[in-house]
Symmetry: none
Subunit: 213 residues, 2 copies
DNA sequence: ATATAGTTAGAACAGGTGTTCTCCATTCTC
DNA sequence: GAGAATGGAGAACACCTGTTCTAACTATAT
């Protein structure tokens, strides 16, 4: 990939700054003035070069129809997800209540890029306590992003409450004839089988975030 | 505060959707068509109402000069981190170059809440390929946030290149008399010892992000 | 009913803005 | 040096688009 000319780099920076300061893209004549370019056709020419390199996208005949690509362009905002409690092997996980969504009632929150959540609803977070989830490749202190659901599709990772064992575990859930197969995320580990009426789906695992040290 | 009319609510939703889908604001005639409004002057009229209520801001005589206000307060900062390659057991990890930070050169990026990074510099991301890192509780497909450094403090998790084994591994690094101890994150696993001149620190692990399913 | 504020319709105007055309300058290749 | 490739200048055109004007239509209160 050939390097961008000095002028083209200035233009990209200008568009970026303009966009974040004003909230809408610059017109060609804005770029012309902002980058001290003598003619609109020069701007047009270089914008076409930038588009052919996939750095921006343009929309013909649309004012300010410039868009910076490569910028995780879609909803690059952070959602604030409440960390409503701990998850450990020996106890059921906390369940979100209407109260939980009150800003005041939650002591801890975590910022999450909205792309990780992808529009899902009923999202909350739990902090993992203890090393009982290592077979799900989840460590002590990790944050698990959960979606509050009562059932999951085959193969989805879920927080499962084992009634007779009085234990919660994070496993991929497969419904098989007459029984349930709980498969650890670590494929080197053995699956676990149990009766369908021994389990209770407490939530679906959306993502795991671990901050090291 | 008086309630917004049905039409005004539709307009706000339309602007929001348009903005996140296209990356630039709609024109008045876009809104007119999108909300099935009969006249541009009606759009103009209601936009003025919305502006006087502080819901949007407009810029006179500027095409598509509409901006949604309440969004800025919610979107805390996300850093866009380049995903510059893969990390696998058998090969050295890609190292960031000045080129890598070029907007054009990076194909993939990930949004990360700035709190995860905490002001650190030289951050990049790698996608994990293969299951060779399970003893670091890292799965195939996980994203590893790295900091480009040449040395780490005792006990910090690092990407270590083992020269004689020709292998990269993610371990906690401890300097001991005459040798180096590489400790897996999974405390149930055994540490690995090697000579100090057999290793090369390629970067420090900042965080791990796993998106499930 | 009358008045008033709020809202809508339709059209036209004027400036903003993307586009394009022609000519020119520089650099590189052969 | 001829020619191609790249980049630039200036102007003009045509459409996009914000704005404005007039007239009419609701709704509510007087």
């Amino acid at each position: 990939m050939k390097k961008l000319s000095d002028k083209q780099q200035r233009m990209v920076r200008y568009v970026d700054r303009f966009l974040s300061e004003k909230g809408f893209p610059p017109s060609i004549r804005d770029i012309q003035r902002g980058c001290s370019i003598s003619s609109t056709s020069v701007v047009d020419y270089n914008l076409n070069v930038l588009e052919s390199r996939g750095i921006i996208s343009r929309h013909a005949d649309i004012s300010r129809g410039i868009r910076l690509l490569n910028k995780s362009s879609e909803s690059r905002d952070v959602l604030t997800v409440p960390v409503i409690g701990m998850i450990a092997a020996g106890e059921p996980i906390p369940v979100p209540t209407p109260d939980t969504w009150d800003v005041a009632a939650v002591s801890d929150t975590i910022g999450v890029p909205s792309e990780l959540i992808g529009g899902k609803r009923n999202i909350y977070a739990l902090r993992v306590k203890g090393a009982s989830m290592v077979d799900a490749l989840i460590n002590d202190g990790d944050i698990v992003l959960m979606q509050h659901v009562n059932a999951v599709e085959n193969g989805q990772m879920a927080a499962v409450w084992l009634k007779s064992e009085k234990e919660v575990t994070l496993k991929k859930v497969y419904v098989e004839p007459d029984k349930i197969r709980l498969q650890p995320a670590n494929s080197q580990m053995q699956p676990f089988y149990t009766e369908s009426d021994n389990i209770e789906i407490q939530g679906r695992v959306i993502a795991v975030v671990r901050q090291v040290n």
